[in-house]
Symmetry: C3
Subunit: 135 residues, 3 copies
């Protein structure tokens, strides 16, 4: 179960292309669905043009990039970060990728494939390391 980290979580104010109070930024925030008690690190960039869904209690580290559109390789598609998953710092999530519930993506990962629920995955490109033990 997710730890209780927030006493008074409020949905952050997000404007297209501008740094939030925490110095992360979103393009096309009208296509971002942001869950409750989510936490996004400094210098993270989200391109929500083709849709980004971030479930409740998701944590994203600093310096991540979440791309629903990657102009460099002409890929696009909704990114879904399911409830309570965690994305380590300096990771890139490519268009169309879904990260499963409770799963953890290690820092410095390049995620170009779906990650199932309840696993730990890491690497460039990302590979599943093991299942998370259920409590």
């Amino acid at each position: 179960m997710a730890q209780k980290r927030f006493k008074n979580w409020k949905k952050p104010k997000i404007k297209h292309g501008e740094l939030t109070k925490w110095n992360w930024m979103v393009q096309h925030p009208e296509n971002l669905k942001l869950g409750q008690e989510t936490d996004i690190g400094a210098f993270t960039y989200i391109n929500a043009k083709h849709g980004v869904t971030i479930g409740n209690n998701v944590e994203i580290g600093s310096h991540c990039s979440i791309y629903s559109l990657s102009t460099i390789d002409h890929k696009k598609g909704r990114v879904i970060l399911k409830r309570n998953c965690r994305i380590g710092s300096h990771s890139t999530i490519m268009p169309g990728v879904t990260i499963g519930t409770n799963s953890v993506v290690g820092a410095h990962s390049f995620v170009n494939s779906n990650i199932s629920d309840n696993v730990i995955a890491v690497g460039c490109p990302v590979k599943v390391l093991r299942k998370i033990k259920q409590h």
Copy 2:
């Protein structure tokens, strides 16, 4: 051939050490030659002290660092990103490096050697994967 991405590309306003409208930054912009219809991602940092040349239609992802000066290892030298090359997110380009025309550097690469034209390269340190098929 490069896709037509811009209807009304304008040269961005760049001031030494300040974030641009797109939240990337340049030091010593007087030594940056920036081509037409270039695209630079959020949180990318360019140190142009010893010269950085970015050709037409070049794309640079988010969270890249382009160093013509690396104080950490006392290296310096002009960086040249040739026409239509693309640099994936979270990549570092070291002093003196040239990236060839149309070439693609994959995300999360550390580029400390020249990359020839028309290839795909990736890794830490970067290695050429293959030639790009000509259309």
Copy 3:
């Protein structure tokens, strides 16, 4: 010996959660001990909640993350960067880690263990490559 890089180094103004003049940021700066003639790159993020000590002449590249608290894996502990060590760009330093005097951490490293004095280390996770030759 560290090169003389600064003529007039001054301690930077740091406010919790705000970008400095050089576009890096610190959370909980009251728990940051910052040495003289240190140099920190753009888009670097320091979470000093549980203490970060940065010795004299330390250099930190762009896009680094220095965590005394990592909420994603529930780790915490003081980070110590000893005198004259250097941290390459895009590196992550995890809670409780000490980097030794004069040591160099290569770019794109994930540092989750202590690094002794006078070595070069690199990788995800970081590994020591070799000793630095003494002059």
